[in-house]
């Protein structure tokens, strides 16, 4: 199980390749990559997405989410790489991957990881654009998605 808080740009294709290369006998891999958008929900331009973190606690929160997924789903390997710092539109914010013998467990584990990261990873998102900045908080859909898992 690997979790990383990355301060520099991440390459999801390389991460997925390395993840698959490290497996032994699994039949399924599910992955998700979140990308920084060039516009906010109202369509205004976003020049940078800033992700603030709190050293030590952020890393622990991501590790705890991965550990919970490991006990909840029959997965053999998990990977979470989450960016922090200043992110350009189009760059990856987060990469998660889950491997299992069969697809359902891998898909559900990746879904679970993302739902919990959205609301429980110790990070704060701020969209910065020509019109100023705007802090992003989880919305009702995010909380409903998290609540699905109990």
């Amino acid at each position: 199980m690997a979790t990383t808080l990355a301060h520099d740009r991440i390459d999801p294709a390389r991460l997925l390749g390395e993840f698959i290369a490290g497996l032994d006998g699994d039949g399924a891999v599910a992955s998700f990559t979140g990308l920084a958008r060039p516009a906010d929900r109202q369509g205004a331009a976003v020049a940078r997405l800033r992700l603030d973190h709190y050293a030590g606690v952020t890393e622990a929160s991501i590790e705890a989410i991965a550990a919970a997924a490991r006990t909840r789903f029959p997965v053999s390997e998990l990977c979470i790489v989450h960016r922090c710092g200043s992110i350009a539109p189009g760059e990856a914010i987060v990469f998660v991957a889950a491997a299992a013998r069969h697809r359902r467990a891998a898909i559900e584990a990746a879904d679970y990881l993302m739902d919990r990261l959205k609301t429980e990873a110790v990070l704060w998102k701020c969209e910065e654009g020509p019109d100023g900045k705007r802090w992003i908080e989880p919305d009702g859909d995010d909380h409903a998605a998290r609540a699905r898992w109990g």
Partner: protein, 87 residues
């Protein structure tokens, strides 16, 4: 700010917008609850006043999330977290 024990508090996310990421408040005793610190912050830093009254602001002491009733002493690592938004 009154005389007393000074507590340094790290402000995370949007909480840092008005007064920066590190603020201090002084209280009379050697220990104080998180709730006491929030009320003192609201008085010393009016821009934070409304935020401090919201239950959505979590407190982190020595890397653990704690309730408002938790008692802290000078020198502990204290931070306040607005709602989280990863992923």
């Amino acid at each position: 700010m009154s005389e007393g024990t000074s507590f340094e508090i790290e402000l995370c996310g949007r909480l840092a917008d008005a007064d920066g990421p590190l603020v201090a408040v002084a209280l009379g005793g050697e220990a104080a609850s998180i709730g006491d610190l929030k009320r003192a912050l609201a008085q010393c830093y009016p821009a934070l006043g409304e935020e401090m009254m919201q239950r959505r602001i979590a407190a982190c002491v020595d890397d653990a999330i704690v309730p408002d009733s938790h008692v802290v002493r000078m020198g502990q690592r204290i931070a306040l977290f607005p709602p989280l938004s990863g992923g």
